[in-house]
Symmetry: C2
Subunit: 399 residues, 2 copies
DNA sequence: TTGAATACTCAACTTAATTGAATTAAATCT
DNA sequence: AGATTTAATTCAATTAAGTTGAGTATTCAA
C-alpha cells in the first residue's frame, strides 16, 4: 500500500484458472445464497461437468454445504449448495494510536468475536506483539478444531506515505513511516495480510454483510477520525495510485471557508465530522467526546446538536453531489463511528442537489442510505476484506 | 452503457486462458516496446514454452514482428519482438449533434485517417448510414489488402440515460433515448463496437499514444462541449454504475455561485470550459466560437482572454484538488478541444492546493500535465479504446 | 403410462499449460 | 584459442482442467 507497485499483469495457466473458477463459484453462491450445479454452470459459462468437479473440491474442503434437493418445475431437482459459514474465518484488526481493535468473522463475514486493547505506544515494537496476542486470543475463542484462517485485514490510519496532508493533525501512527506493514504483520501472524484504510474496509464490510450486498458500485462515507470515503466501482475497490484515494475530509466545499488543520480553508471535515461536532458542542459547553455522549444528546433532542446537524448537512449534501457526479454510484452510504440515529437525522436533513447524474427516473434505491456504524466497523471491515478476496477473482493482476 | 448491466462474473477455460495470455503478451510488448520470449515469460509468469507457442501464434497473425537478435550479456541473444503497427486497425467515431468525426488508427494507435462529415439531423436513421459510409471510406483509404479491423469505438455525448442533468442545455442527440447504440452500430458496421463518453475515450487515447503511456492511474480533464473527466485507476477505466462517472462540469466549486444551465449554482463548467470562455469574451465584444478564434486571441496576448484564464484557473485548481484527494492519481492531465497553448497558460496560472494526497516528497511528474488536444481527440480516443481492449485482459467480467 | 424436461455422472477427448532434456550462440575463463 | 559458463530457445512427454457426448435418475404433464 505504501509505495506504488507498478502493477504486474500476469498470464494464466490451468492452476490459476481453477483458482479463478473457484472464486467465481463462491462469489455466485454468496450473492445468490443457494444454487444448484446446473444453474451455477449457466451463470459462470462453464460446463456442468467442470462445475461438478469444482463443487466436489469445494465441498471436500468444507467451504460449501450440500443442502436439500429443490424442485423447480420439471426435471431432477437440483441439490442446493450454500456457503458454509463455519468453513473458514478471517481476522480483522484496526490499529489506532492508542488502541487495537481485533475482530474475528466467519466465512459469511458475521462477527464471531471482538476485543479492544489499549496500547501505550503505536510503535511497531509495541503494536506487532499486541496484535499477535489479540489474534491468538480471538482464534482460541472459537475452540480447538478451528476452521482455516483465510488471512488478516489490517486497518491503519491513512494517508499512506509522506504526503501533503501528513502532520495535518491527523491521528497518525509514529514509527511506521519507512516500514512495510504488510510484510511485518505477515511475518508476525503467519497468515496472508492485507492493509487498507478504514473507509475502504468499512465499505467492504457494508458489501459483505450490510446494506450494500446487492450493490456493485457505491460510495461509503466513513465517519472516523476525520472523514473518509470508500469507493467500490463495478465490484472493484478504488484505491488510487498510492492507496490514498477517498480523502473526502479535505475536499473543499467552501472557498475561503473555515481554516482546517491541513492548512486549507473550507475542507468538508471542518463542517461534517465527529471532530467538527465535538468542537461545535464544546463551544456551547457540552461534551461530545464519544458516541455515547452524542447518543445521549440526541436522546434528549439537544437543540445545539440539532443545530450542528443542520449546519453539517449542507456541506455534506454538496459533497455527495460531487461524489455522485464523479463516481456515478448506485447509492451513497453513510456510516462509521457515529450513532445510527444521528446518521439518520443527518440524512433526513440533507438537501441534495437535484441535478446530478444520480437523479434518475428509474431509481429504486434512495440516493443516500445509512450503513453500518459502531466502533468496530473498520476492524470488521478489515476482516470482510479477506472474505471479499476469496470471492472476487483477479487472475490478471498481482501487486 | 445506457442501462445498468449487473455485471456477470464468468469462469475461465483453456480457450479463454489463451485469449487472456495473448492480451497479456501484447500489453507487455506495448509498454516495453521490444522484448524477447524469455523475458516475456518472466514478466508474465508463464513458462518459456508457453510463451513460444503464444508468440508463434501472434506472429502468424502478423500482430507482432520478429526483430534482430539482441545481445545482452552472455547466452544466446534473444529475438526481439515488437507490435506490428500494420497488424490491425481500429475505427473511432465521434457523433455530435451536427457532425460526425471519423478516425482510423493502426495497431499502435497512430492516426491513419480522419474526416469530418456534416449531418443535418442526429436521428439514428441519419447517423447510422452516415457513420457506415464514413467508416467504409476510412477503410478504403488504406488500400486493398487492409489488415483486420479490431472494432469501432463510438463516442456519444453523455450523460447516458434520463438523469437529472438531461436537458440542462447539454448538446444532446435526439432520437436515441430508448435505443441501444452499441447494438445498432454493431449491426450496421459488422465489427465489435464500444460506446463511451468523450472524456473517457480521450483519456484512453492519452494512455495509448499521449503523455500517459507510463501511467496506471490518472485523471483526464476534457474540454469538450462541457467539461468532462476520464479516470483510469490502476489501469482500469472508471465508468460508474451507469457509465456516467466523471461529470466534472457540474461539480460545485462555489456555493451559491454562478447559475448553471443545469439549475444549480457554482458548477465548475460555468467558470472553466469552452462555453465559459466564449461567454466571457462575448460580453467583451470578442468572438471565440472555435479553437482558431481562441488561438488568434492568444497569439496577440489578448488581455480579456488573459483575464478569463486567471478567472478560470482558481475554480479549476480547487477541482483538481478534489480529484487528487478522491482519486489519488499519478497526475491530472488537461486536454480536449482547446488550443494547446491555452492549456499551457491555464496550467501555468493554476494555484494548486498544497495539502492533498498528491503532494508527495517523492514526486517526479508534475501534478498537472497538458495532454493531447484538438478536434479529433475524442474520435481518436474512441479508436484507441478498441486498441486498448486488445491489450487489457478481462477474463472475469462480461457486460 | 409414457414422453419431455432437467440435473447429474461417467468416460473419452481437447486445449493449453508445465517439465526436463537437448541445442545454439554469446561471454568469460584458462 | 579452446573450454566453460550462461542464457534463449526448441523438442518431446506429461499434466491440469476444461469440453463433449452418452447414459441415468427424477419430476411434470399430457
Amino acid at each position: 500500500m505504501h509505495r506504488k507497485t507498478p502493477l504486474k499483469i500476469i498470464g494464466s495457466n490451468a492452476e490459476r484458472t481453477r483458482l479463478h473458477n473457484r472464486k467465481v463459484v463462491l462469489g455466485h453462491l454468496r450473492s445468490h445464497g443457494k444454487l444448484g450445479r446446473a444453474e451455477l454452470a449457466r451463470l459462470t459459462g462453464l460446463s456442468t461437468q467442470a462445475m461438478s468437479n469444482i463443487i466436489a473440491e469445494l465441498e471436500s474442503e468444507a467451504l460449501i454445504l450440500a443442502g436439500e434437493r429443490q424442485t423447480k418445475g420439471r426435471g431432477l431437482p437440483a441439490v442446493q449448495y450454500t456457503l458454509n459459514p463455519a468453513g473458514a474465518v478471517a481476522l480483522g484488526v484496526e490499529v489506532r494510536p492508542n488502541a487495537i481493535l481485533c475482530a474475528l468473522v466467519n466465512f459469511l463475514g458475521d462477527t464471531l468475536y471482538t476485543k479492544r486493547i489499549h496500547i501505550e505506544s503505536s510503535a511497531p515494537a509495541v503494536v506487532l506483539p499486541a496484535v499477535k496476542t489479540a489474534c491468538d486470543e480471538a482464534l482460541s475463542s472459537i475452540g480447538k478444531n478451528a476452521p482455516p484462517v483465510l488471512g488478516a485485514g489490517i486497518v491503519m490510519p491513512g494517508p499512506f506515505g509522506r504526503v501533503g496532508l501528513t502532520g495535518a493533525g491527523k491521528a497518525e501512527l509514529v514509527g511506521w513511516d519507512d516500514k512495510d506493514p504488510q510484510a511485518l504483520f505477515e511475518d508476525v501472524l503467519q497468515v496472508p495480510v492485507r492493509v487498507e484504510n478504514d473507509a475502504t474496509a468499512a465499505a467492504i464490510a457494508e458489501q459483505t454483510t450490510g446494506s450494500a450486498t446487492d450493490l456493485q458500485s457505491f460510495c461509503f462515507v466513513y465517519f472516523g477520525t476525520g472523514l473518509g470515503l470508500g469507493v467500490i466501482s463495478n465490484g472493484e475497490i478504488l484505491r488510487g495510485a498510492f492507496g490514498n484515494a477517498g480523502e473526502l475530509g479535505h475536499v473543499v466545499v467552501e472557498r475561503g471557508g473555515r481554516l482546517c488543520s491541513c492548512g486549507n480553508r473550507g475542507c468538508l471535515e471542518t463542517y461534517t465530522s465527529r471532530m467538527a461536532a465535538r468542537e461545535f458542542l464544546q463551544k456551547r459547553g457540552k461534551s461530545a467526546e464519544n458516541q455515547k455522549d452524542l447518543s445521549d444528546l440526541l436522546a434528549v433532542n439537544d437543540p445545539d446538536l440539532e443545530k450542528w446537524i443542520c449546519e453539517a448537512a449542507d456541506p455534506l449534501a454538496q459533497a455527495i453531489g460531487t461524489l455522485e457526479n464523479l463516481f456515478d454510484p448506485e447509492a451513497v452510504i453513510l456510516g462509521g463511528a457515529m450513532p445510527p440515529e444521528l446518521l439518520e437525522r443527518l440524512i433526513a436533513k440533507l438537501n441534495l442537489i437535484d441535478a446530478t447524474v444520480s437523479v434518475r427516473a428509474d431509481r429504486t434505491l434512495p440516493r443516500v442510505v445509512r450503513g453500518a456504524s459502531g466502533w468496530m466497523t473498520a476492524a470488521l471491515g478489515a476482516a470482510a476484506l479477506i472474505i471479499h478476496d476469496t470471492y472476487i477473482p483477479s487472475i490478471s493482476k498481482v501487486a
